[in-house]
Subunit: 266 residues, 2 copies
């Protein structure tokens, strides 16, 4: 497509993983060293990579700056940051914040648990998360306008990652109904068998669900029931963030209206 740009991207990627010497860079691209040098020089001039004292190249501040610019424009992240950290501290589990961006659901913040399980979680801010095999994905999906939901699901090829994955339209729809009834979602090892999550929706000022917050643990640390015991605190966090975004919860209807399948918060 665009060879030199591809090569540049490749070098950026590699340099983000570990420091790259020129010879190394030339090797991974399969090009002459002089070629690699000129690519790296160009990237360096934009501060996309940086030369260390040892002469190796690592990711530069220019890129970080750009990505902060993009993330920073998300008010949500700002408003949520403190709440997420409080939630992490009080539950001691890893906390995620994910948002629908285009056709993908992206982690836009993550607060690691200091416990050792953190290293095993593959999630990362900026990375996309499965839309149908994650608690945050299903939560956002559940509250999406149906035509939008159909659009997203039309691209999806269902993959049965584990025994608990909702890997077809029918069972997924049933799950989404349950989520709307509860007002929250779980992930019972649906993507990775040993990873458990509970998630709750975040709404903007129009009442539209735009994101979800979740707590995660691997099963040896906490099973799904133990995780679920944090639900009140999780829902409280989600509602606090929603409120800061300008969401005013509708008056709670009298308790005797259970025939409305939608969440009482809707």
């Amino acid at each position: 497509m665009a060879q030199s740009i591809r090569r540049a991207i490749d070098l950026i990627r590699r340099s983000a993983e570990h420091p790259l010497s020129l010879t190394e860079a030339a090797d991974v691209l399969g090009v002459h060293k002089s070629t690699a040098l000129r690519i790296l020089q160009t990237l360096e001039s934009a501060r996309f990579v940086r030369r260390t004292g040892a002469g190796t190249y690592v990711l530069g501040s220019g890129l970080i700056e750009l990505s902060e610019l993009a993330l920073g424009s998300m008010d949500l992240r700002q408003f949520a940051a403190a709440h997420l950290r409080a939630l992490q501290r009080e539950t001691s589990h890893t906390v995620h914040l994910a948002q629908l961006t285009g056709d993908e659901i992206i982690y836009i913040d993550k607060v690691d648990s200091p416990a050792f399980d953190a290293v095993k979680l593959p999630s990362r801010v900026g990375r996309a998360v499965s839309i149908y095999a994650s608690a945050v994905g299903k939560t956002i999906l559940a509250y999406l306008p149906s035509e939008e939901r159909d659009r997203l699901l039309s691209h999806v090829v269902f993959d049965r990652f584990t025994g608990t994955t909702f890997a077809d339209h029918e069972s997924l729809e049933a799950e989404l109904v349950r989520i709307r009834e509860n007002g929250w979602a779980t992930d019972n090892g649906e993507h990775d068998a040993y990873v458990m999550c509970v998630a709750a929706p975040i709404r903007d000022s129009r009442g539209q669900v735009i994101a979800a917050v979740s707590i995660t643990a691997i099963e040896v640390i906490a099973n799904l029931d133990q995780l679920r015991s944090n639900l009140p605190r999780l829902l409280e966090t989600a509602n606090q963030i929603s409120r800061e975004l300008g969401h005013t919860p509708p008056p709670v209807p009298s308790p005797a209206t259970p025939e409305d399948g939608r969440s009482i918060d809707e």
Copy 2:
């Protein structure tokens, strides 16, 4: 140097600022639309940019992911995050965390004040900060081993940004001595006349200063004295973070040893 890569970088930059249509992209580069299209397609395949529903291009999650990878490797950021946010909440000023990376001092976290001054602060995570005209810069500089300090300063061309800037080696050295005596630094509008800061050092497990935390306000919000009234809380935050990094403060010597010019914490 490498034309197409430069163009790609330019488009990444622009797309981070605001959504870019294809024709717009071609215009800013001064190239044909087909050329711009192919560059954008290449970037899109790496998720460096993303197509919106409207057909415009915005910054993609691939970049964010990369930068998280680089920032995430900095334990410091993780450990500090919650403390910084608490400090912001309690002082109501903007909080910065900066770290020496290569030859530059880079902001690696920032917690905006909800007050209106936030928009006027040009600082941004990933961006370099002046090494001699900022509170965090001077703090880190003050505690650097002298040969390392000389190396950094040898590149520097002094610029007298404002009337208070320490714009020559001599006055800067005197300031650094003061900082070591105090254990903290101020920025009395030394880069931007109306921006005030107070900063404190963060140490790693070897006792080496590797970063600094600061609180910032514009003068109409708080003058330097008002800002300085938050010193106890700021120092406490810096020490907490140091402790989490494994720093064990040396036993405080008996009060009667003032002849040691270095900080008592050293």
